[in-house]
């Protein structure tokens, strides 16, 4: 089934709040091998001007992929998850995600296109605090491989 082009331009309502925790930041930093103490030592973080420990630059994907699931799991979108490959990823950080942040993500489906028998879908998740402060823009392109 081809990907539903009508989804291009769709904007989803903001997700439930995601609370950025000290524990998840540490776990993520250890998993990607980021040894900067700013991820685990609140005193180091404060000396550098942050309110608390901060997340590594790609941590936002954890929240963004939960937002993307709204599209990918929608049967009307026609996306076969078993054929999905991650094509591109980009982050623009307005400031680092920080422990204690309560953030919501708003998912935008920027483009849906076909190329070479594959479908490509570019989504953009705008992450902001509950108070509306923009924190990060995460843009992802997935490729849905065509049938054999």
């Amino acid at each position: 089934m081809p990907v539903n082009a009508d989804f291009q331009g769709r904007v989803y309502p903001p997700t439930e709040t995601y609370r950025v925790s000290v524990a998840k930041i540490r776990e993520f930093a250890e998993a990607v091998g980021s040894s900067d103490p700013v991820h685990v030592d609140a005193e180091v973080a404060r000396v550098r001007g942050y309110a608390d420990v901060i997340a590594p630059p790609t941590f936002a994907v954890l929240i963004a992929q939960q937002c993307d699931a709204q599209l990918i799991s929608d049967p009307e979108a026609g996306i076969d998850f078993s054929r999905v490959v991650h094509g591109e990823q980009r982050f623009t950080h307005h400031r680092p995600l920080t422990a204690g942040d309560a953030v919501v993500g708003t998912l935008h489906v920027d483009t849906v296109r076909e190329a070479g028998g594959h479908a490509m879908v570019t989504t953009r998740t705008e992450l902001a605090t509950e108070q509306g402060e923009a924190v990060c823009t995460a843009t992802s392109t997935i490729v849905i491989r065509g049938g054999e």
Partner: protein, 151 residues
């Protein structure tokens, strides 16, 4: 290098004036094995079975378990954050995933990461680093650019 820090553990942010276009960052090798992929799956909540279940990966046409693209992206940028002196200074980071990193059970895989300064803007003190990441001799990231804000 100038100025002393009040806390030894708080590394100094690299001075913009010490950086030139063409500078090479110290390269590193990121070793990834199945245990690391399970660790990343748990940390990132990306539990897709192609990243840890060899039988499943082969059933869907892959040569073997492959690393999460986001693991490669996240581990490669540590080259830049360690060089910059603060992981919070990355303002932009984008990559294309050009080839999967295949992770055999016995040996795991080595990802070779290097970086070079492509642009440095004195107005904003923003420095653009282009990263190169290869595994098994093939480029696994394309157009991998990280922009850091220096002092």
């Amino acid at each position: 290098m100038s100025a002393q820090s009040s806390t030894p553990a708080a590394t100094e942010v690299r001075a913009f004036d010490s950086v030139s276009v063409g500078d090479a960052l110290p390269p590193r090798t990121v070793h990834v094995d199945r245990a690391r992929l399970v660790q990343y799956a748990g940390a990132s909540l990306d539990r897709n079975r192609i990243h840890w279940d060899e039988r499943f990966a082969k059933e869907v046409g892959l040569p073997d378990v492959i690393a999460h693209g986001m693991f490669t992206m996240g581990s490669a940028v540590t080259l830049v954050t360690d060089w910059a002196g603060d992981a919070g200074r990355v303002v932009e980071y984008g990559v294309r995933f050009t080839k999967p990193v295949v992770v055999p059970y016995e040996t795991g895989a080595d990802i070779e990461v290097s970086g070079v300064v492509k642009a440095a803007d004195p107005e904003t003190k923003r420095v653009t680093v282009e990263l190169t990441a290869t595994a098994g001799g093939e480029k696994v990231l394309g157009r991998a650019l990280a922009v850091v804000l220096l002092d």
